[in-house]
């Protein structure tokens, strides 16, 4: 049995995510779409906090809601005026999009409902049965080279980020 506060928090955040993710893709003003995306990302971070991954929620807010959203807003302001409105969709494209996404949603939900996971544990049981993940555990997992430790992917990501910086500067510089 989960606490009432957890259930209320879940419903508020899930409703926010559902509404704002639909608004993100239907809004005709691109700056508003970016703002709605920010709300979706923050809602996901709240889910991470609720599920007991505090470090990941902090990373989500710092990297996604901080870094990537600033990139989006900068590029929107650089490439068009903020009061520009996207033209109305023709009915053919909209029909195609609705068909694909609704069919995908129905298929995914059917697959999940028939998955043998329905008798799973509740959130409180899971939080009690799992060990707490503190910074010590995370640091050891990232900088160790043993079993279930991730030194090599960590270094690979650092090289990837360096390559991404160089690539971004090279592609976007003035000729």
């Amino acid at each position: 049995m989960d606490s009432v506060a957890n259930i209320i928090l879940y419903f508020v955040v899930a409703l926010c995510i559902a509404i704002f993710s639909v608004l993100t893709v239907t809004s005709r003003k691109i700056l508003r779409a970016a703002t709605y995306l920010l709300f979706v990302l923050i809602g996901t971070a709240v889910f991470y906090f609720q599920l007991g991954y505090q470090f990941l929620g902090a990373v989500q807010i710092a990297v996604y809601a901080g870094g990537i959203m600033v990139l989006f807003v900068f590029s929107i302001v650089l490439t068009r005026r903020p009061d520009d409105v996207a033209p109305l969709l023709d009915s053919h494209r909209r029909c195609l999009g609705i068909c694909v996404s609704v069919a995908g949603a129905v298929l995914l939900l059917l697959a999940f409902f028939f998955m043998p996971l329905l008798d799973g544990m509740s959130l409180t049981q899971c939080l009690e049965s799992g060990k707490e993940i503190n910074m010590d555990t995370i640091g050891n997992a990232f900088l160790g080279s043993g079993r279930f430790q991730y030194l090599l992917p960590f270094e690979a990501v650092s090289v990837l980020l360096l390559a991404c910086i160089i690539g971004g500067v090279t592609v976007a510089r003035k000729r």
Partner: protein, 103 residues
Amino acid sequence: MDLTILWYIVPSVIMFCAGVYGFCTRKNMIALLISLELMLNSADLNFIVFNRFLFPGTMDGMVFTLFAIAIAAAETAVAIAIIINIYREIGNTDITSVKQMKF
């Protein structure tokens, strides 16, 4: 009432399908990228939810999500650099007006 795994998967599915809809219908390249972020975010949420509810003793899903966030940041930075370059060349960011990638 219990919050089981299915409760967390439903918002994730809605997020993913909204992303698919945006990816199919939008023409602005930045809007396409925003839809892509929605889909990536729902995949991240799924990693976390499956880790918490099916394997609560481990932290592999969390590590996967951390790497996915890092790679998403890198991908967005490069994609926005390309979009700004295209904007300099052809004057808009409409996906239909890009016929070839080679300038």
